[in-house]
Subunit: 469 residues, 2 copies
């Protein structure tokens, strides 16, 4: 009797041992894969990839080296490399890619966190989220500034107040996060536009995120007023053909009796061009085409200016208001081009960066995309000499006064990536009949030597290896 | 006997039940806090904080509202608000802060990932790192472009090729990561400078990171040549005092016989100022101080220009080379100021942004920091009329031609945050003796009405509420 009695508890014991064993196994498994969450091989750690480098060959293009004096070639290339390095430093073009590691217990800001130089600012969004520890210890370090925890802190918990490396430790996770929420950054260097990197770590986990150090800028706005005369200035450049200029002015005044006209004049024998709201600027003789353009634009006080050549002619359908309407509807646009005697003449540019100098190609009649909502308007890179532009945007690019006789695409090359340009079909102006003008044509027609000088100029100035027009 | 026998197993039973219960409780606790790793209340999910908004009152400052015609005040404020909004849109000043959530199994790029508009680019650094699942399913979505997995893909694993939302699913984590490593982004909008956001998610985890859409720019470099004449142009503006100008030119030629001098001249009765490498530009009469400066700078073809007033005088110790040395050693500098007859006159500006218009204060003799390695040089915001500047940097800011009679600090206000300015003690030039000049002083001395016009101009143009000079 006792035997059968005792068999039941024995079975119970075995059964329960099996259950406990099973549970223990589950427990072990749980505890085993759990930490692996935090320590993923390399992919879990932060990796920095350098930006991809494109390259270009000069197949079917004009190699610019041939236009440089071979005896100075090496010196020119050395000097150009120095200026290019300086340019990259100034433009901050070389930013490494930062990767956010997976399964990091750290929380931090990845974008849009900027501080004023030498001013204390809170670092937003810092946090630690992990399972129980005896002690939690996180540290942050920077290069161009110092870190500290704002308000009263316990010296045992915070180490390195006001230094480049700050360490926070506590037995309470809540406390660590409270301290992290009060961490500030103060740049020790003065700069108006630079950045620093914050290295934020806990045990084997590290996250790196940027701090943008930037001096706030004061806005510079134009008061567009209420009428076309306070919105737009007409600008032109004249040389050796006052007869054409007079026809242009007369045609403008028919439609716009009061709008300001700015004339850059590099005639060898300047004649006085007067009239209500006409400003004439006399330059040294034959100072050149782009110098004149740059001068005219430098004198504009309106939000927009309209560029016209001195041999154009306003027609009944020539309406500056249509340009303004497109600009005001698309505030990010910088330049809107029209058509000259019905010709909507435009190009797109293909630019390939290369460490030995870039490759640039121009494609006639090729556009990027239509401008949504404006039929006949397309995003392009190069347009005709008849355009409305934002004064501030074009000033930032400027017309290179080096280009004396012929320059047009050159302005758009300098403006590539800086000016948002569209060309529109229905904005038209006329062109006066071209009469042969010996003296003018001598200056105008680009001689071979002039062309070679221009290519050599592009080689250095635009860091180009080859061009195809 | 049976009683004591049976008591043991009974106790075992109770004991084991207690153990099992305890284990169960531990298990429950484990299972309970475990998922919380992935789902941290709000802080774990992506949070977007808007940039902090500072504010300012006009205590002890000149409130600019008083200088506006009260009957037009509302219209002016409305118009200004519109232009300001446009400015913010163009400058992309409002970027929200993005936070990387903790314990996310997702890996992704947080900085430096940029693409050319309309061009397909690989998204670097994408990955998923998590424990075993039956099926792994991640998805990515964007606004201004489309996503796809490059090269051959299995339709069952990849959904939404070439669309705004891409889904990848597989029973193999390795395969998911292989597919993620081939995900590309192609913008469908054309823009030269904008950004998109990628929403990357797995189960309840989401990460958001930016894509920078940017058209590469062509470098614009200056060939500094080998001597001071090819590095620097001297620029000045003259009005009603050719006698002073001639003294200046004579003093320059003593030290620099060949350096180019550009003169902006708005005299009512222009006299011809000629000489080797002297360029005179004749403006409409009394066109004004800043218009003249802007004209002169627009004609410079060298990397640097030196600004001097027409009544300054080069002394034996006046050396342009010293300016150039500082600039070349610190390529990020834009403007280096000197001292006029021993006076190293400089200011710092304090600018506080505010939605109703900012507050601007000027502090004489206050600097930000010394320029490391150059004794007597300090980072400041406003300097004297004797400075060397990078031509391209100053052109980007420009001199507002609206300011006819008096303008100086105004240039540095427009340049705040755009120009890195230092002032140096040991770069000296002389000032010619000031003779009373009735006609000149009439123009020069700023009348009250002129001052009021200037304040009203600042109110609109610089989006300011008050100023303290």
């Amino acid at each position: 009797m006792t035997f059968p009695r005792s068999i039941l508890p024995k079975h119970f014991l075995i059964l329960l041992c099996v259950i406990v064993l099973g549970i223990c196994l589950i427990l072990i498994r749980l505890l085993k894969w759990h930490p692996s969450h935090h320590y993923i091989p390399s992919s879990g750690n932060l990796s920095v990839l350098s930006g991809s480098i494109s390259s270009c060959d000069c197949k079917g293009q004009t190699d610019l080296h041939q236009f440089l004096p071979s005896d100075q070639l090496n010196d020119i290339i050395k000097s150009r490399a120095k200026e290019y390095k300086e340019h990259q430093l100034r433009m901050k073009t070389n930013t490494d890619i930062l990767i956010a590691p997976a399964n990091s217990p750290l929380q931090y800001p990845i974008r849009g966190f900027s501080v004023a130089p030498l001013q204390k600012s809170l670092i937003p969004g810092l946090g630690l989220y992990t399972q129980k520890r005896e002690v939690y210890k996180v540290s942050l370090s920077v290069e161009k500034g110092v870190l500290s925890v704002d308000e009263d802190v316990n010296k045992e918990q915070v180490n390195g107040q006001g230094e480049r490396k700050l360490t926070i430790s506590s037995s309470s996770l809540k406390e660590v996060n409270d301290l992290l929420s009060r961490v500030t950054y103060t740049s020790t260097i003065y700069h108006i536009r630079t950045s620093d990197l914050v290295h934020f770590s806990f045990e084997d986990n590290e996250a790196v995120f940027p701090v943008i150090i930037r001096r706030p800028t004061v806005p510079v706005l134009f008061n567009p007023g209420n009428d076309i005369n306070s919105q737009v200035t007409i600008t032109t450049k004249t040389f050796l053909r006052y007869n054409k200029l007079k026809v242009l002015i007369k045609s403008i005044r028919k439609v716009y009796p009061k709008i300001k006209i700015i004339i850059a004049d590099d005639n060898p024998n300047p004649e006085n061009v007067s009239g209500d709201n006409i400003e004439q600027y006399i330059m040294p003789p034959a100072q050149g085409w782009f110098a004149g353009r740059n001068l005219a634009v430098s004198q504009v006080t309106t939000k927009y200016f309209l560029w016209v050549d001195d041999d154009f002619e306003f027609m009944d359908e020539t309406r500056i208001e249509s340009f303004v309407k497109i600009m005001e509807a698309n505030p990010e646009l910088d330049v809107v081009g029209g058509a000259v005697s019905g010709e909507q003449y435009y190009f797109s540019l293909e630019y390939i960066e290369d460490d030995e100098g870039g490759c640039l190609r121009r494609f006639q009649g090729r556009h990027h995309k239509p401008l949504p909502g404006f039929e006949g308007c397309f995003f392009v890179d190069v347009i005709v000499n008849f355009f409305l532009a934002r004064t501030d945007a074009v000033r930032r690019v400027g017309f290179d006064p080096f280009l004396k006789r012929v320059g047009h695409t050159e302005f758009f090359i300098d403006g590539l990536g800086k000016l948002l340009v569209v060309s529109c079909k229905d904005l038209s102006i006329g062109h006066q009949i071209h009469e042969a003008h010996e003296k003018y044509d001598v200056y105008r027609n680009e001689g071979e030597s002039e062309k070679e000088k221009k290519y050599a100029h592009h080689f250095y100035k635009n860091y180009l290896k080859c061009i195809k027009y």
